[in-house]
């Protein structure tokens, strides 16, 4: 059962036609298997070595039984037994047991080390791939997905790599070796030993006939419970404050009761059948069949009593194999699903890097007829042209959802345009090497990104070689110097551990970082989400320092902030509808003028 996804997602899963569902599941399973095979390729050789070892170890399982039979022959022979022969038989038994333990153990060790190596290399590959994915990919895929792929999913391969091959090999080898030996003794015994297996197989096949739809129904039931929990828990604040607690709770209880009822209906018949099926291969039944048959064979003079002894011992080992084989598919399914998710991450499109990168010779940023779409159908930006003259401030304003942030993210190349082009100094950003690009463009965004390392390293991220004085100078200019010095270990304090910073403080650290990076073009989100007025004033002072002498593109949330901008671009539904300076736009009496009027009314 794959309940690992985001619960909300699972809750949303609609009830589909079970047949279509089964078909879709089949195609998906095939893709998953292919993904799995290519993922396991690097450890295939080691897996084969382990399987070879395990074949020897598993075959040795039969040896003690043969030895006991030999012992029986020696002891039951008329006249006093030869101690040498007895000792020989005991020695063979012990030898068989040792070989089994040794080879099986080494095989497991081999696959376990292979698993460790594979996990490490997969993690490294995932991380390397992510380092080259388009930045926009990270907004579309939550970072939790990434973590899940790199940690949980990789870990889910463990059973498959470390156990499955070795255990399946043993599960196949033991009965093959046992039956082979019995054939060598007498073909009738070899047929008698697995006599009850067809019954089991029949019952099992009958059970599996309905398995797909049953599983589908069960999963739908789980999804329903999931949905009930999501509604119940997420909405509990609202539910309680609006006095609907009883109702939401009742909804959940009902879902739980219904699930219990359905679970009984679905699982009970399967379970009954399973109980019967497993009886047919249980030790007492197998013993009964083999002894009864054996007595008949002895009476008929086909086999000796000692052969019946051997056959009974071998026959009783065979069913235990079924348990292992039964576990296999489930584990394989889970691992396949994990492999598929990892493969998806590994196949993340890489941001194309120009093979002959150019270096821009000026800092003028220009958008030429830029269009952009996240999903390929709806254009978020449509035919946007804009020029950022060096040393000027350009402000983007517009209602929420008008495309301001998207536009800014294209300039920083978090995404690539789907139409038109963006140039810096006349060079298309796609033709500039990543490193070179960010030497020209810096950004301070709302979502502040600090790393769990020292404050100093956070500030000098752009220039690891910056001197202590340069770091402090940047911090001072960003109005955060004194706060940092008050931390338990000053600039050495680790962010998130010793340095617990408020949103506004973190923002100022990121401004210090941008100051030190000293890129000529700056993309700025005029952050207002900080509820802390003192911090806000300090942030503003810091930003004022930062923008000095740069080419600035600012996403404006509050209009008064940008009344002095050199250029204001008003966006609506992905298009620039107005452009000009504040007085010009007011005079034009368009969208901007309306927004300004709303603002004036709101602020008393």
């Amino acid at each position: 059962m794959e309940q690992d996804e985001d619960p909300r997602q699972a809750a949303r899963q609609p009830d589909q036609d079970p047949k279509a569902q089964a078909r879709a599941a089949k195609t998906q399973a095939r893709a998953a298997r292919a993904a799995l095979a290519s993922m396991l390729a690097p450890v295939r050789r080691r897996t084969r070595v382990a399987m070879a070892l395990q074949i020897i170890g598993a075959a040795a399982t039969i040896v003690p039984y043969v030895a006991i039979a030999e012992l029986a022959k020696v002891l039951l022979a008329p006249g006093p037994a030869d101690p040498g022969e007895v000792r020989g038989a005991v020695l063979i038994a012990v030898l068989g047991l040792s070989v089994r333990a040794l080879f099986g153990g080494v095989a497991l060790a081999v696959t376990h080390f292979a698993d460790v190596a594979l996990q490490a290399s997969l993690r490294r590959r995932i991380v390397a791939r992510l380092g080259r994915a388009p930045l926009g990919w990270f907004t579309a895929n939550s970072s939790a997905t990434v973590r899940k792929a790199a940690q949980n999913d990789v870990h889910d391969l463990h059973y498959l790599v470390a156990h499955s091959a070795v255990e399946t090999t043993a599960a196949v080898t033991v009965p093959v070796a046992g039956l082979g030996y019995l054939f060598w003794l007498d073909w009738r015994l070899a047929l008698l030993a697995p006599a009850t297996l067809p019954l089991y197989a029949g019952a099992y096949a009958y059970m599996m006939k309905d398995f797909g739809p049953q599983m589908g129904r069960l999963n739908a039931g789980i999804a329903a419970i999931n949905k009930a929990i999501v509604e119940f828990v997420t909405g509990i604040g609202v539910v309680k404050t609006f006095g609907r607690a009883g109702r939401a709770h009742a909804g959940y209880r009902e879902a739980a009761t219904r699930f219990g009822d359905h679970y009984r209906c679905w699982v009970r018949p399967m379970l009954k059948l399973e109980a019967f099926a497993s009886m047919t291969v249980s030790a007492p039944v197998v013993l009964l069949v083999n002894l009864a048959g054996g007595i008949w064979f002895v009476r008929a003079g086909w086999v000796s009593p000692v052969d019946v002894l051997t056959a009974s011992m071998v026959a009783m080992v065979i069913p235990s194999v079924l348990v292992t084989l039964g576990f296999g598919p489930q584990a394989r399914r889970e691992a396949s699903a994990a492999a598929e998710r990892i493969a998806a991450v590994l196949e993340t499109p890489v941001l194309p890097e120009s093979c002959r990168p150019k270096v821009p010779d000026s800092h003028e940023v220009e958008l030429h007829d830029v269009s952009f779409s996240y999903d390929g159908t709806v254009d978020v930006l449509d035919g946007v042209s804009l020029r950022l003259v060096p040393g000027t401030v350009t402000a983007l304003v517009g209602p929420s959802g008008s495309g301001k942030s998207t536009l800014a993210s294209l300039v920083t190349r978090f995404h690539d345009v789907t139409g038109g082009r963006i140039t810096i100094g006349g060079v298309d950003v796609r033709e500039i090497a990543t490193e070179q690009l960010y030497r020209h463009i810096g950004f301070v965004l709302q979502d502040v990104q600090l790393l769990r390392t020292s404050v100093r390293d956070n500030i000098r991220l752009a220039r690891p070689g910056a001197s202590e004085e340069e770091v402090r100078e940047a911090a001072r200019a960003a109005q955060i110097d004194r706060r940092i010095e008050a931390l338990p270990r000053g600039y050495d304090s680790v962010v998130g551990e010793e340095a617990v910073l408020s949103g506004g403080e973190a923002q100022r650290v990121s401004i210090a970082r941008a100051l030190l990076a000293d890129a000529p073009v700056l993309v700025l989100d005029e952050a207002t989400a900080f509820t802390d007025p003192e911090s806000e004033a300090a942030i503003q002072d810091a930003i004022a320092r930062l923008v000095r002498g740069r080419t600035v593109l600012v996403i404006a949330h509050r209009l008064p902030t940008i009344v002095e901008a050199d250029q204001i671009a008003v966006l609506r539904e992905g298009r620039i509808v107005e452009r000009g300076r504040h007085p010009e736009l007011l005079a034009a009496d368009g969208l901007y003028a309306r927004m300004w009027a709303t603002h004036e009314r709101a602020v008393v």
């Binding site: 309940q3 991380v127 999931n226 609202v238 959940y252 990076a517 509820t531 600035v552």
Partner: protein, 585 residues
């Protein structure tokens, strides 16, 4: 495990569990006895008495039938237990969670509880069939065989008895090894996980500053550490997995050796010896595998632990009936001290509020002002009783919140906080949550005031557009407007409002402004204020600084005081006049 199960099931259902366990034990013993009949059958057969062997086989058939019956009974009882566990756990979890204080819920709760409600509960329910059954039969059936051996030949039986503690010891050691290794892996895994997450979240800066081309050192180090830990783990895991099997095989070897030498001395009947060895050979296998169940047991125990952790969480104590409200619309915070409970019972956390006192008269506006982290949000949460205070009293409507039922308290309050939950329902349905029996006109009026009608115009299905998890997603500001509309519709005597995010952009700001004017006419307003206009228009301003109230008064009074508030107001005023321009200096 069984103790946990029985505790979770409660006395009403405990009987089923014990009936199941009894049936299971009966089955295991019956199986052991049935298989033991191998000895007389083989004895006669090897001794040349096929008639005797056939008679014993008849007895074997009878024993087999009994065993099969026992198997069926235990399987069905096991299923009944599973069902009881399933529904009992689901219901108990639901009932308990509903009674927990709102403060218990955070961003991770949904994920945790859905996982628990599906995966953990199902796996606990399944543990009877998948865990208890193999475990009990794996131990009890061989034990029965050993007892039978003692009766058949005391010397061989004794040898087997002597071996048992050895096997048990090996199993224990192996379980301990496997547990230890899990801990090693965990620490390294957590660190690596954290670094991967950091790497993904901070891609823009890492990339912009050239930290992806040559690798991000902390992540590299964490992955390397994880690999080293994993290798160390294997060195423990492989011996751990093999130890149990190894012990069993040693014992088996010893038994063969002892048996053979006894037979050579003529001390034991060779026929019986061979038959006994055959019997032991059958059970050496399953017993060796019991150790492998350690992992399954651990998983089940972890699931159980997660469920119990939730069930052990203390619910919010609530009176049977609310004390009647004496002063509708009033809020009084009286010498309140509070610190968030430490995570995982690390004792009381840092004090967030200390000796906070102020009163809010009915139908007045109080603005809470202070730097982030000064305790404003916490204060509103205490008034809504998301948590209980450590000292002092919070009175709403003149009555201690602890003397009111949740429903009674909530009747008096409307909350407009930052995180807005929309139900999987239509837009209008989501507003109606505020007062389900409101008239159509009331709903429309509330929506209009809060600016929801403006959102509706842009939606294809208008008022009937489905919003929430599965529907059209609204922006943060739009969600906030819906939440304000709810509050307007509910028309509670007291409104707690966090203005911070509501005032983000000009269009939202205008709606928030309008709604607040409507609200203040009929309710008491307690606002975490951000806009200067809200603050100056308030009847009372409460200034919080590091969890203490430093100043209380009107705007004029506090400006005259020339303290923290005056400083704040000047800063804020300066911030408002701020302009971005390249030549700013």
């Amino acid at each position: 495990m069984i103790r946990d199960l029985s505790a979770v099931l409660g006395s009403a259902h405990r009987a089923v569990l014990f009936r199941y366990l009894a049936a299971l034990c009966g089955y295991a013993v019956a199986q052991g006895l049935a298989v033991s009949l191998l000895v007389p059958v083989l004895g006669d057969l090897l001794g040349g008495d096929t008639g005797g062997a056939a008679r014993w086989t008849g007895w074997l058939a009878v024993a087999v039938l009994i065993t099969l019956g026992a198997h069926y009974v235990q399987a069905m009882l096991g299923f009944r237990v599973a069902l009881v566990i399933l529904t009992t756990l689901h219901h108990r979890l639901g009932d308990h969670v509903a009674a927990l204080p709102l403060g218990w819920f955070d961003g991770t709760t949904v994920g945790r509880l859905t996982r628990m409600g599906t995966k953990s509960v199902l796996s606990i329910a399944g543990s009877c069939a998948h865990l208890l059954q193999p475990l009990v039969t794996g131990v009890l059936t061989p034990a029965t065989v050993v007892v039978v051996m003692v009766f058949l030949d005391w010397r061989l039986g004794l040898a087997a008895v002597v071996c048992s503690p050895l096997i048990l010891l090996a199993a224990r050691v192996s379980v301990r090894l496997l547990n230890r290794m899990d801990e090693i892996d965990d620490a390294a895994g957590v660190e690596a996980s954290g670094r991967v997450l950091e790497f993904a979240r901070n891609q823009p800066v890492l990339r912009a500053f050239g930290r992806t081309t040559d690798g991000y050192p902390p992540l590299e180090a964490a992955l390397k550490e994880q690999r080293a830990a994993a290798r160390k783990q294997v060195w423990m895991a492989v011996p751990g997995m093999l130890l149990g099997g190894f012990a069993v095989q040693m014992c088996f070897s010893a038994l063969i050796g002892v048996g053979a030498s006894l037979a050579l001395d003529g001390a034991v009947d060779p026929v019986e010896l061979v038959a006994l060895l055959a019997l032991v050979a059958r059970f050496a296998g399953p017993l060796a595998e019991v150790g492998e169940f350690a992992a399954v047991v651990r998983m089940a125990r972890n699931d159980m632990g997660r469920v119990r952790a939730v069930l052990d969480e203390p619910p919010l104590p609530e009176p049977e009936r609310s004390t009647p409200v004496t002063e509708p619309g009033a809020v009084e915070v009286d010498r309140v001290r509070f610190g968030y409970p430490g995570r995982r019972g690390e004792g009381p956390g840092d004090v967030v509020l200390d000796d906070v006192s102020f009163t809010v008269a009915p139908r007045t506006v109080t603005a809470l002002v202070g730097a982030s982290g000064s305790g404003k949000t916490t204060l509103t949460r205490l008034i809504a009783r998301f948590f209980d205070v450590d000292a002092g009293t919070v009175r709403v409507g003149g009555v201690d919140v602890r003397d009111q039922t949740t429903a009674g308290l909530m009747e008096q309050l409307s909350l407009v906080f930052q995180d807005v939950y929309l139900f999987d329902d239509t837009l209008v349905g989501n507003i109606r949550v505020g007062r389900p029996d409101a008239s159509e006109a009331d709903v429309l009026e509330a929506a209009r005031l809060a600016g929801v009608d403006e959102i509706v115009e842009r939606l294809r299905d208008g008022w009937e557009t489905r919003v929430g998890e599965a529907g059209t997603s609204l922006s943060g500001g739009e969600r906030q407007r819906v939440s304000i509309a709810r509050a307007l519709l509910k028309d509670a005597p007291i409104v707690l409002l966090d203005e911070a995010t509501a005032a983000l952009d000009p269009e939202n700001e205008a709606y928030v402004q309008r709604s607040m004017e409507a609200l203040r006419e009929r309710s008491t307003l307690l606002v975490i204020a951000h806009r200067l206009s809200t603050v100056t228009a308030a009847d009372q301003i409460v200034v919080l600084d590091e969890g203490r109230v430093t100043e209380v008064g009107t705007h004029q009074e506090l400006m005259v005081l020339d303290g923290r508030y005056a400083r704040f107001w000047n800063e804020r005023h300066r911030a408002l006049g701020w302009r971005i321009a390249v030549d700013t200096s």
